[in-house]
């Protein structure tokens, strides 16, 4: 049994251990950047055209949309929930924006963005209310609303499609034009990342979300308004999915009710690959965004390398398994390291 007197020599060691812990925590972001670099280098080695500015632009545009979704997913996942309905919300919002803009071509682009986000927010409110007041796992609720929102989109579209030439040019420019060489879509995604990232890291609300995922009973006892925060997380996720829907519409121009079908998989994959824990409490928007970039780059590289496009989905699945497997191993390592450090009192 160790007494109080024995502990003081340990102080130096704890500081060293802390930096070791930090290395583990940032390892995920670094390893994704590394994987990206290797992927780009190899692909460019085989097909130099891969690093052509047009192709990089395409990757960034695609990644921007998934990244916006992944940021919203991060907010939900750190509370130990999941939102599987984001792909359907994207579809609904894209179709809503497309319909309104083709009917009223004079509308300002900003209004389209607001409209899409409002549609998404409504869907998020539905998810959030069901999860909060139904006392039901988010997985089941959002699996249900995934199909419900998609069904609404199908009912509304009734087999119709919206084509690019029906949409105002100003709106389509949102998807193609750049600001100082950086595409608007990327700018918007970066703004979303910075805002959400700062809130999650530096504001009480953000830390409360982490706390909720880290220990749900503890969060309740700490007086965190768990129900309201959870509802809020789903509204944020829905709103960002709505925003992504408008960006989708602007980028592709052609929209039908199936827009964004299956995106939820890519989004969850991006977040999980980016280090957001399925069990909550851990993860950053930066990691999730990097995950989105990696997935998009992989799919472009497959195309460039003339590898069967059908591999893409399989790779997404394999990456999810790889990411959660690695997370598990790291967690076991860290737990073992902390155990060895032992108690500070005994």
């Amino acid at each position: 049994m160790t007494t109080v007197q024995d502990i003081h020599p340990r102080i130096g060691r704890t500081a060293a251990r802390r930096s070791a812990l930090r290395r583990v925590l940032t390892a995920r972001e670094i390893s994704i950047v590394f994987a990206l670099a290797v992927l780009v280098a190899v692909t460019a080695g085989v097909r130099p055209a891969f690093v052509h500015s047009q192709s990089i632009r395409d990757i960034l545009l695609g990644a921007a949309i998934v990244a916006v979704l992944a940021v919203g997913q991060t907010v939900v996942m750190i509370t130990r929930s999941v939102d599987l309905s984001v792909g359907s919300i994207l579809g609904l919002s894209a179709y809503a924006a497309g319909t309104v803009l083709s009917d009223h071509p004079g509308l300002p682009v900003v209004l389209a963005l607001v409209l899409g986000m409002a549609v998404g927010a409504c869907c998020g409110v539905i998810n959030g209310l069901l999860v909060r007041f139904g006392n039901v796992p988010a997985l089941v609720v959002t699996l249900g609303t995934l199909y419900m929102f998609r069904g609404v989109a199908y009912l509304w579209a009734d087999g119709e499609q919206i084509y690019a030439d029906e949409l105002p040019g100003g709106f389509l420019k949102l998807g193609t034009a750049s600001l100082l060489g950086v595409p608007y879509l990327v700018v918007i995604a970066l703004i979303v990342m910075v805002v959400v990232g700062v809130v999650l890291r530096n504001y009480p609300v953000g830390r409360q979300l982490y706390a909720m995922g880290s220990s749900p009973p503890g969060a309740r006892l700490a007086g965190i308004p768990v129900g309201r925060r959870l509802l809020g997380a789903f509204v944020v996720s829905g709103t960002l999915a709505g925003l992504a829907g408008v960006l989708f519409a602007a980028r592709f121009g052609t929209i039908d009710a199936s827009a964004g079908n299956g995106y939820e998989l890519n989004v969850v994959a991006a977040a999980v690959v980016g280090g957001v824990a399925v069990a909550g409490g851990v993860g950053t928007v930066w990691g999730a965004a990097l995950g989105a970039l990696l997935l998009t780059t992989i799919s472009s590289a497959l195309a460039v390398l003339n590898i069967n496009q059908f591999w893409q989905q399989a790779i997404v699945g394999a990456l999810i398994l790889l990411a959660i497997g690695i997370d598990r191993l790291i967690a076991l390592r860290v737990a073992a390291a902390l155990k060895k450090e032992g108690s500070n009192v005994r």
């Binding site: 049994m1 007494t3 109080v4 502990i7 003081h8 340990r10 102080i11 704890t14 500081a15 251990r17 802390r18 812990l21 700062v198 530096n202 504001y203 009480p204 830390r207 409360q208 982490y210 706390a211 995922g213 880290s214 220990s215 009973p217 503890g218 969060a219 309740r220 006892l221 700490a222 007086g223 965190i224 308004p225 409490g281 851990v282 860290v334 737990a335 902390l338 155990k339 450090e341 032992g342 108690s343 500070n344 009192v345 005994r346």
Partner: protein, 525 residues
């Protein structure tokens, strides 16, 4: 308005609370005065925890009120309780493992800097200051994950100190602490009392209650029994009021006639947990495994039974070597383990009494693989009756039973496997005095019938009255073997702590230290 200086700071006023048809608390009043520690005592199920949860804002009273400084409080949530200045320290810490220690402390009221952002440096400094005040070194920047229970408890206390706490509620905060840690906690508590804080203190250790508290409220069956100045009562009187009757000698005497060696453990080891544990148990013999919490007692018996990993060593039952890591192999060799944590390890709480009693034997009760024709029901009925379990229907969820009857279900479940070696970890934790005596008689009877019994217990009187031999563990090693005549409270404690008598705590209080939640009051006088 200024608080009434003569009246109680916190007044629990005629509160009642029911869950479904069960009344947990009926018409209880407790006056808690500023600058005074108020002990709340009672057996398990007396309603202490419900009172704590009402103070914490987790439950709202059905009737009655909670007044602070003469004004009724409406505590709708833990946040309300916090805002009113009531801080609660639970026996099981409620930290966020993924957040840093400093963040855990600052969670409720984080210091704000630029643009309303959290000022991390200030939060870390505050945490460091609080730890300095408590006399501990915990790195504020490390994650809470991996802290020992004692460290977590310290962080909880720092959390309560960081807020303007007028009433500090401590629900068995010392259960997992060593006597040194308890002393430090009490020093902090006393300085809070001097500053005019009121403390509600729940503990099952009378030494601590007499050391800290000025007033004591006894509860029984959800009802208020009495509130007195501590000076006006002695411990015997408190115990009498808690159980509602006089205590008589409970422990049976037994003449031991040990037979052949049934259980033989040799060189058992698990990295970082226990090392080089060897002992034997003969049929008809009761061997107690004693030691402080964290000395590795439960870990050893769980490794013997095979639910936990073991890295070295062998276990033989009746001469036959056991396969490691296989509770099944242990069961078929005739080993049974009544585990320490009844709710988690002993019972499937939502499942019926019948399913619980027959779960380990589902395979052997089946005929051609099928469980038909009421074989389970008959067997469950037989064993529940043998142990005089009080229940309504066998199909009732086991969670509806009282603690004592739940323990009887666990015992029925394992006795029905007809074990040759029975290991019982904390046989009477959280059960009432009457049932306790029944369990002791049962254990003696089993030994008389030739079963080899291993008892792990934190309660020294229980160890001393039951055991033929006492094995004492310290820091993962078997350090002492004591025969019945050698074993006294002193000799066992000396071996357990590896030093002379401790000035701060008596032998018994140190021995009842447990790392698991022990929501009941141990009546071990």
């Amino acid at each position: 308005m200024p608080p009434d200086s003569t009246g109680p700071l916190l007044h629990v006023h005629n509160v009642s609370k029911s869950f479904g048809v069960v009344a947990a608390v009926r018409d209880v009043s407790i006056p808690v005065y500023a600058g005074e520690a108020h002990a709340l005592v009672g057996e398990n199920g007396a309603g202490k925890s419900t009172i704590v949860k009402m103070l914490a804002g987790v439950h709202r009273p059905d009737t009655g009120s909670i007044d602070l400084a003469g004004r009724p409080l409406d505590l709708r949530s833990p946040a309300d309780a916090r805002a009113a200045g009531i801080a609660v320290i639970y026996q099981e810490p409620t930290l966020f493992p993924d957040l840093s220690v400093a963040e855990n402390i600052a969670m409720t009221r984080p210091p704000r800097g630029r643009f309303g952002m959290i000022d991390r440096h200030r939060a870390a400094r505050t945490a460091a200051d609080l730890f300095a005040r408590l006399g501990v070194e915990i790195d504020p920047a490390r994650p809470a994950r991996g802290l020992s229970i004692a460290d977590q408890q310290i962080v909880e206390i720092a959390k309560a100190l960081s807020m303007d706490t007028r009433v500090l509620v401590m629900d068995e905060p010392t259960a997992a602490l060593t006597s040194v840690e308890v002393e430090r906690l009490f020093a902090v508590a006393r300085s809070l009392l001097e500053q005019g804080t009121a403390i509600v203190f729940i503990s099952h250790r009378f030494e601590e209650i007499t050391a800290l508290c000025a007033r004591v409220t006894v509860m029984r069956d959800g009802q208020h029994v009495s509130t007195d100045l501590m000076a006006d009562l002695d411990v015997d009187e408190i115990v009498r009021r808690m159980v509602g009757r006089d205590l008589s000698a409970l422990h049976p005497q037994r003449t031991a006639a040990p037979g052949e060696v049934m259980l033989q453990v040799e060189g058992l080891g698990r990295d970082g947990v226990f090392e080089d544990v060897s002992f034997t148990v003969r049929s008809g013999e009761i061997v107690a495994l004693a030691g402080l919490v964290g000395s590795g007692r439960s870990e050893v018996v769980q490794a013997v039974f095979g639910v936990d990993r073991r890295d070295r060593g062998t276990v033989r039952v009746g001469g036959q070597r056991l396969r490691p890591n296989s509770p099944r192999a242990a069961m078929s060799a005739g080993l049974a383990l009544v585990p320490e944590d009844r709710r988690l390890q002993g019972l499937v709480m939502d499942a019926s009494i019948q399913r619980n009693v027959t779960l380990p034997r589902a395979g052997s009760l089946a005929r051609v693989g099928l469980l038909l024709g009421g074989a389970e029901r008959r067997s469950a009925e037989e064993w529940a009756t043998r142990l005089q379990t009080k229940y309504h229907r066998l199909s009732d969820a086991v969670s509806t039973l009282s603690g004592g009857n739940q323990q009887k279900v666990v015992l029925a479940k394992w006795l029905a496997t007809m074990p040759r070696v029975l290991i019982i970890d904390e046989p009477t934790r959280g059960i009432d005095v009457g049932t306790k005596a029944e369990v002791h008689r049962l254990i003696s009877g089993l030994a008389t019938d030739g079963v080899a019994v291993v008892v792990v217990s934190s309660e020294l009187p229980e160890v001393l009255s039951l055991a033929d031999r006492v094995l004492v563990m310290r820091e993962g090693r078997l350090v002492r073997e004591l025969d019945r005549d050698e074993a006294t409270e002193e000799s066992v404690m000396f071996a357990a702590v590896g030093q002379g008598p401790q000035p701060a705590a008596t032998a018994e209080s140190a021995s009842t230290a447990t790392s698991e939640p022990a929501p009941e009051l141990e009546v071990s006088r």
